[in-house]
């Protein structure tokens, strides 16, 4: 395709989007569960003006409810509005990668639209269509924060269509932290004031003090911390959260997982080892069974009021803030704890920080894309732009099980959560302040988005699990992981991994 034809195509698409937006008549679309349609190229009215009768769109997505449910809902709406036939295939998470990858590799044109974990972009990028400029310029995409635009971009091209934003942050029981009795108890036991943990040492200390006691007065014991610890259940993300502050030095550029220059794994360096030791030490303050908690258990434990603190994605927080939750408006959010000592791999020493070093972890996030082999790219991008239009997103954000989390500037407004969801001021403010701090934060860490990320993370999780179960020390476990990572890099090819990893480092070192 020449530059001329590309420009012509972009112009045509832009014109089409503008014309359809202009033609759209004011109509009531509240029957679709939205408050009101927001005018624009992806609005209900604009999509309603299109006619895709006789055409079929095939979509692969996650199982219901997380992402799978909004995919199906908006597919049904898209079908009704445009006359297209939309087929949605729901796949359990464990099968999703290979169900997308095998058709790609074998040249089958199985799906037009794909929903997947954003960290798989390192694997899928050769098979994805670039988001046309016209769609990058719609209002909904313009308001996506630079962080999540970066996550959607590969080698300067926007390949993922942003429809979710994820990150890890700290969640805690604000009622307990503000309770004078609990404050006195903590002071008595530790000699210092009870504060929201600013370091992982403080986190573990607070968790230990409030572990296995009935601090909410319901007659059942409560526990210090709920964390994702189950090996193949996204535990690697929890571990990286634990590690980031110790291993991501703000003055050392050029890689968190690898040294970009040499492609030597850094996973067994002292910062990582310290993070693992703290992760293992925290096991003593977890609920019974907490050492094998999957994400669902963590959501239920913190969201159900069992644990004092937790850190992961939005789910547990949203669960805690459901209308029927016993701890609604008794929770608050904060950035992940930091570290006062950070490993400097350039000098080979621990550097001390008066203000704890923090490293916001922008992890995971669902994403979507259109297959480059799709013959329905126009309809596919229209579907995605409809999925992510402002009206749909504001509705989806209010349904916790949908798994759609804030990723636009407008989503960081506490007033939305107060008025639409009934959150109290403190909860809404700490939540949005935390998200803003992560989104605009310095020293960010992103997922390892390189070819074979599944293999790297599987190896990491297996090593961490060995240390958690006592099969190996933290250093032994991570030495084993580093050896496996070297072998994986050798198999894939150093240059290929480096080229991909440079995309991640560019996001981190910006």
């Amino acid at each position: 395709m020449t530059t001329k034809t590309t420009l012509r195509g972009a112009l045509l698409a832009t014109s089409a989007l503008m014309i359809s937006a202009g033609l759209a008549a004011a109509q009531d679309y509240s029957k679709y569960g939205i408050k009101e349609d927001v005018p624009g190229a992806c609005s209900f009215a604009s999509i309603d003006a299109k006619d895709y009768s006789g055409r079929t769109l095939n979509i692969i997505t996650h199982a219901i409810p997380v992402i799978g449910e909004p995919t199906a809902l908006h597919a049904q709406q898209f079908q009704e509005l445009t006359g297209a036939t939309v087929n949605v295939v729901h796949v359990p998470f464990g099968d999703l990668f290979q169900r997308i990858m095998i058709p790609f590799q074998t040249g089958q044109q199985a799906y037009d639209v794909l929903f997947f974990a954003s960290l798989w972009l390192g694997d899928f990028n050769p098979y994805l269509a670039e988001v046309p400029q016209a769609y990058q310029e719609v209002s909904g995409m313009q308001s996506v924060t630079p962080t999540y635009k970066g996550v959607a971009t590969w080698n300067g091209k926007m390949l993922n269509y942003t429809m979710d934003g994820d990150r890890h942050y700290l969640k805690y029981r604000s009622d307990v932290f503000s309770n004078p009795e609990m404050q006195a108890l903590f002071k008595e036991k530790t000699g210092r004031d009870l504060t929201v943990p600013a370091t992982w040492e403080e986190y573990n200390e607070v968790a230990a003090v409030f572990n296995n006691m009935d601090w909410d007065g319901d007659g059942a014991p409560n526990f210090g911390t709920a964390e994702v610890t189950k090996r193949d259940d996204l535990m690697f993300s929890a571990f990286i959260s634990r590690v980031a502050a110790y291993a991501k030095h703000p003055d050392v550029k050029g890689g968190f997982f690898f040294d970009l220059a040499t492609m030597e794994p850094l996973v067994n360096t002292p910062g990582w080892v310290k993070g693992l030791e703290m992760f293992v030490a925290a096991q003593a303050s977890m609920p019974p069974g907490g050492t094998s908690f999957g994400l669902g258990d963590e959501i239920f434990s913190f969201g159900g009021g069992q644990a004092l603190m937790s850190y992961s994605w939005d789910d547990a927080f949203i669960q805690a803030m459901q209308e029927d939750s016993p701890i609604r408006n008794k929770v608050a959010a904060a950035p992940l704890p930091g570290a006062t000592e950070v490993w400097n791999r350039t000098t080979g020493q621990w550097d001390k920080f008066d203000t704890p070093n923090t490293a916001p972890y922008v992890t995971w996030g669902w994403s979507s894309a259109v297959a480059s082999a799709s013959e329905n790219q126009d309809m596919a991008f229209d579907y995605l732009c409809f999925f992510g239009n402002e009206a749909n997103t504001l509705a989806d954000l209010q349904i916790g099980r949908f798994g759609v989390n804030p990723y636009r500037e407008a989503h960081f407004d506490p007033a939305f959560y107060e008025t639409e969801l009934g959150w109290d001021v403190n909860t809404a403010t700490t939540y949005t302040d935390t998200l803003k701090a992560i989104d605009g934060g310095q020293n960010q860490v992103f997922d390892l988005r390189v070819p074979g990320v599944g293999e790297f993370m599987s190896s990491l999780a297996a090593g961490v699990a060995r240390a958690q179960s006592g099969e190996a020390t933290a250093q032994e476990a991570l030495d084993g992981v580093a050896a496996e990572w070297k072998a994986i890099v050798d198999r894939i090819g150093v240059d290929r991994v480096r080229e991909a990893y440079a995309n991640v480092v560019a996001l981190e070192d910006k």
Binding site: F97, K230, R231, G290, D297, E455, S458, A465
Partner: protein, 288 residues
């Protein structure tokens, strides 16, 4: 005329080739390739995958663990299944009801039952620990300590598949001739003597069949581990099938997982053949 009969065999043979031989041959071919997420397709790398497999300690540990798990659970299933079959073999009250009741676990979907068992074993929210507490045994770390997690997997397997043993052994018991039992009674043999000298020997052939079928099935143990423990804590419940699943489906190392699968197939075929011969020698007296 003689040759024409082969034409009639051809459709069946073609189906056989398509269903059994082609996937097997294809897997063999894949196992000599480096097909993975970054090298799609069937290139030729010789025996690299097999050399790597030889040094893959996690694979061999998983195979050893699977062997213990398989032999342990099948022996328990056989013992319990035989006991239950003997219980409802003779005329007892509500015999038909019990026969159906004992089959219920086998008729449920393994994944669904594993989810239910995971809830039962849940250490803070599940019902099992409060019950154990109430009867003085105390709460147990079912899924968070290696030994307990291993026992939990065994319990689910035994619960799910004992009915299969029960079904086969009950069918065997119901098909036994009455005369040997009459002769034993005339000779004054009590129930234990009758069981040891008449029932058990006559059940030898069907016992071997039932044990072998279950050994074959149990050696593919995957769903229970996937749902209940994900192979943890650490790698304490990781079985060969689950490990192959991780390498193949999660890590997308298609070539390597094909070599793991084929090696596993060969090891299990040899092991099960030897076990079958030993069992026949031990349990089937009339080997003609």
């Amino acid at each position: 005329m003689y040759r024409q009969k082969y034409i009639f065999l051809l459709p069946g043979l073609l189906v056989l080739v398509a269903i059994i031989l082609f996937p097997l041959l294809f897997t063999i071919r894949v196992s000599f390739s480096s097909w993975d997420v970054y090298n799609p397709g069937l290139n030729w790398i010789g025996g690299e995958n097999y050399a790597r497999l030889w040094e893959d300690a996690r694979y061999w540990e998983a195979l050893t663990r699977l062997s213990v798990l398989t032999v342990g659970t099948v022996l328990l299933q056989y013992t319990l299944g035989f006991a239950l079959a003997l219980l409802v073999w003779r005329d007892i009250i509500a015999r038909r009801f019990f026969r159906v009741l004992f089959l219920v676990p086998m008729m449920t979907t393994p994944v669904v039952m594993s989810v239910i068992w995971r809830t039962i074993f849940h250490e803070s929210l599940g019902p099992l620990n409060p019950i154990l507490d109430a009867i003085g045994i105390g709460a147990q770390p079912w899924l968070s300590q290696a030994g307990h997690a291993f026992a939990a997997v065994m319990i689910v397997e035994v619960w799910q598949w004992t009915p299969f043993m029960f079904l086969l052994l009950l069918a065997g018991l119901l098909s036994l001739p009455n005369e040997p039992f009459l002769a034993a009674r005339i000779d004054g043999a009590g129930p234990i003597r009758t069981f040891l000298s008449v029932t058990f020997p006559m059940m030898g052939a069907i016992s071997v069949g039932a044990i072998l079928i279950r050994l074959i099935e149990a050696s593919k143990l995957m769903e229970t581990v996937y749902v209940l423990t994900s192979g943890g804590p650490g790698t304490s419940t990781e079985t060969t099938s689950y490990y192959i699943y991780i390498r193949g489906m999660r890590d997308f190392q298609i070539g390597y997982s094909a070599s793991l699968s084929l090696t596993y197939l060969i090891v299990m075929s040899v092991a099960l053949t030897l076990i079958a011969k030993a069992l026949i020698r031990l349990m089937v007296k009339d080997r003609t």
